[in-house]
Amino acid sequence: MDFEIFKNAIPSMGLLGALFAGGLAYSSVKFKVEEDPRKGEIEKVLPGANCGACGYPGCASFAEAVVKEETVCDGCPVGGPDIAEQVATIMGVDAGASSKERQIAQLLCQGGKAETFNQADYQGIPKCRAANRVANSKSCEYGCLGFGDCVSVCAFGAMYMDDNGLPVIDTDKCTGCGKCVSECPRSIIALMSNTEHIVVRCKSVLKGKEVKQACEKGCIGCTLCAKKCPVDAIEMVNNLPVVDAETCVGCGACVQACPTDAILETPYETIKIEKPKEEVLVITEDCVGCTLCAQKCPVDAIAGDPGNKHELDTKACINCGQCVKVCPKDAIEYQ
């Protein structure tokens, strides 16, 4: 074999390659883009799913926003508290300082197999979307169809169907992405803030008698909850109570009042209270015994005769702060 042919080819190509490599090496230094090193570090600890649940196009954009302090360290709903802490450590801030509020999917129906019945035998495609198209086989035309369309779209394994034929949402795993909400043909899954702790778990707008016939746990529109609410946070709309999250103090009076258990307190621990639990309300000597606080107290923790100083049962008190607001003499304080 004649090696002469390599004599020109290899050096010339090598020279050419070396020339361009050198040029690029020079320009890579010359046009170097300075990036905040924290961005790369944050990207590494993020889940990397690029799901967009944080509101940014991907994990890289989220990391950039965190570095620019446009968003909070715990803005990644998938990562949860662990990732938030790692991100906060990289940013050199305290994770607890940022907001913990997040969106969680809530099922607004309690009509499972035990509470409702089938008025017809549906044998079509086993999908909620298909079943919702044909005449109503379930006793409640607003209730969960129970084929689990929502469970199948959940990308985070945060949902499963229980034995009663209702989807259960794992509030820890739920990222609030909203896929199940848009998938449900009957719109009985809603995104709610984890600071909203009272949820009306019924969407039936029918009159009380019809609801009672269809489901054991449906809202019959009796308005008891609205009447019992100490802060008037509940308004009846279309035979259903609507809770105003701003006004609601989470005392649970409505939950106790509901005859069909259609209102439930949410299972998660983050209950909004005005002051930390360690502080207790105390009635001071300024009390003139007007009884306003006792009337307002949703849990009857205040007792006393008119004209005399009232007593507050700190065990029963839920720290809702309603009494502090109504007291004309500012005689109730946190201690």
């Binding site: 020109n8 080819a9 010339s12 190509m13 050419l16 390659g17 361009f20 040029g23 690029l24 320009s27 890579s28 046009f31 170097k32 883009v33």
Partner: protein, 197 residues
Amino acid sequence: MGDLGELFGSLVMIFMTAAITNNFILSQFLGICPFLGVSKEVPTAFSMGLATTFVMTTSAVCVWAVNSLILVPLGLGYLKYVAFILVIASFVQLTEMVIKKVSPPLYKALGIFLPLITTNCAILGLALMIPMNNYNFIESTIFGLGAGAGFTLAIVLMAGMRERLEFADVPAALKGAPITLLIAGLMAMAFMGFSGL
């Protein structure tokens, strides 16, 4: 003076041929990928056109130099693909660095289509046509510039039409890629009218 006039005339001819009569996209159907991919908005399309023009012109100059100074004298014609791709890839890399530094939003808007200029057949086609047509240094430069201008013209025209199409009542089956391809075909037919020039 006559020679200079003749030279200028031939250069204008090369430019016009590359830009319009033999438009790389609409007559030779080279570089369709960015033509369809980055033609959603006029400003982005125009920037893509400029980036491609830059790579085309610089590559044309380098390709001419590599071809006539290295490949032909050493009888290494069979290495032209490797050598040309090396030239093109280097300039695309350089362009990418400059754009990333100078305009991060543009870098994001061009996305994958910027590095894809490397494998854009319009540019390799241009590189291969230079030795084929025996262009000299100035002719090669003008050829590259003309090809880039033609590419920019086509992609900006396309982007302008697609911007208006956003608000047009397109039948459902033709929405998106199908109508874009139809437009490309119609534009190509319109450009055939220039072949008589």
